[in-house]
């Protein structure tokens, strides 16, 4: 009887899972390559508007990020007004100048003239805040800016 059983199980071979790690590693490598670690923890809503006349920012090291938008749901106690975020903190308009100077010092003399300020601003923000940021940047001669957007048709902004 036992002989009979043995013969049957030989007909149904076990599926080899030896290639499973290979598949998983393949996926792993893909995500490892595609991953860019987020530098700052966002504390404001940051739904970027759409645009299609965009340029890619090449040199990731030479970018300053300024975020603006309404405080995200975790920080509702701060209020509903649009706020600016620099690095990991909420900031005021007057903090922008010291922030730019600080970043220039950190990036070193070589990169400092080529610094681009990436404005990551929530699409529902009023232009008043954006205008204030631009005014501060002009005053410290940080003239190269980039309105960071998502790629898409502009009409999607207005829906």
């Amino acid at each position: 009887m036992s002989k009979f059983k043995n013969k049957q199980s030989k007909d149904m071979p076990v599926i080899s899972t030896a290639s499973l790690p290979d598949i998983v590693f393949m996926l792993l490598f893909f995500f490892m390559v595609a991953t860019v670690m987020r530098k700052d923890t966002l504390m404001v809503d940051n739904k970027l508007p759409y645009a299609d006349q965009v340029e890619k920012l090449e040199n990731k090291k030479a970018i300053l990020y300024i975020y603006a938008g309404k405080p995200s749901s975790r920080y509702k106690n701060i209020g509903n007004e649009a706020r600016i975020q620099l690095n990991d903190k909420f900031a005021e308009i007057k903090d922008i100048k010291p922030f730019v100077f600080e970043e220039r010092k950190l990036k070193g003399d070589k990169l400092a003239p080529n610094l681009i300020t990436s404005l990551k601003i929530d699409k529902k923000t009023n232009m008043g805040v954006v205008g204030d940021i631009k005014k501060e940047l002009r005053e410290v001669q940080a003239l190269k800016i980039n309105y960071t957007t998502r790629i898409g048709d502009v009409n999607r902004n207005l829906q």
Partner: protein, 206 residues
């Protein structure tokens, strides 16, 4: 059984380890969106020469009010028509004699811009304008410039301007990059981006 086979390493847990790493990277991944409209801000107000005088006909006024409504030359306009209006203005070529624009294909209306070098687009927004509307308007204006430059690129060098720019950034491009750069600056000078942004208006002034 004199010779013993080397014991096989159990690779079953390899998948678990790989999964663990995979999930970690899945969670931390943000496909970065570092694309955007690049602009150059004007220098601080005290460094701007005050004596620059712009003729009224060389100025194209674009205004966005606090209700996100678009006004071009004081009359309302839909966003989709803005690009064509801007192109018509830039490409008008209404100048005479030394101010004549030889490559413009516009209607040469004497009431509109003399030539693209003189033509200035002025963008005015209110403090209550939403950022998305502002970006949409900026995008349309940039598109107007790009399309005109594309046309000239195609006419002069058989290649649209935007493609030249892409090639310039492409490390695998085989062509002569210094020549490409020269051509790009040349086309940029034919249609220079002159976009002036005034200080945003206070809402009660509108």
């Amino acid at each position: 059984m004199a010779r013993r086979l080397a014991p096989e390493v159990n690779a079953g847990s390899m998948a678990d380890i790989a999964f663990l790493l995979l999930i970690f990277f899945l969670v931390t991944t943000t496909i970065e969106t570092d694309y955007g409209i690049s602009r150059k801000l004007p220098p601080p107000p005290e460094e701007i020469q005050k004596d620059t005088f712009i003729k009224e006909k060389n100025l194209f006024r674009v205004e966005v009010n606090q209700q996100n409504e678009l006004f071009v030359e004081k009359s309302p306009m839909e966003l989709k028509d803005l690009k064509e209006a801007a192109k018509a203005f830039l490409d008008n070529g209404g100048g005479v004699k030394e101010e004549k624009c030889f490559y413009c294909k516009g209607v040469a209306n004497p009431k509109s811009s003399d030539n693209p070098q003189k033509a200035v687009i002025s963008l005015i927004n209110s403090r209550e304008t939403s950022y998305e509307m502002y970006i949409a308007v900026q995008n349309e204006l940039v598109k107007a410039y790009t399309e005109l430059r594309d046309r000239e690129g195609l006419r002069l060098h058989g290649e649209p301007y935007s493609k030249m720019k892409k090639n310039l950034k492409d490390v695998n491009h085989s062509g002569d990059k210094t020549l490409l750069k020269k051509r790009i600056t040349e086309i940029q000078q034919m249609y220079p981006e002159k976009l002036s942004e005034a200080e945003p208006l206070k809402s009660n002034n509108l």
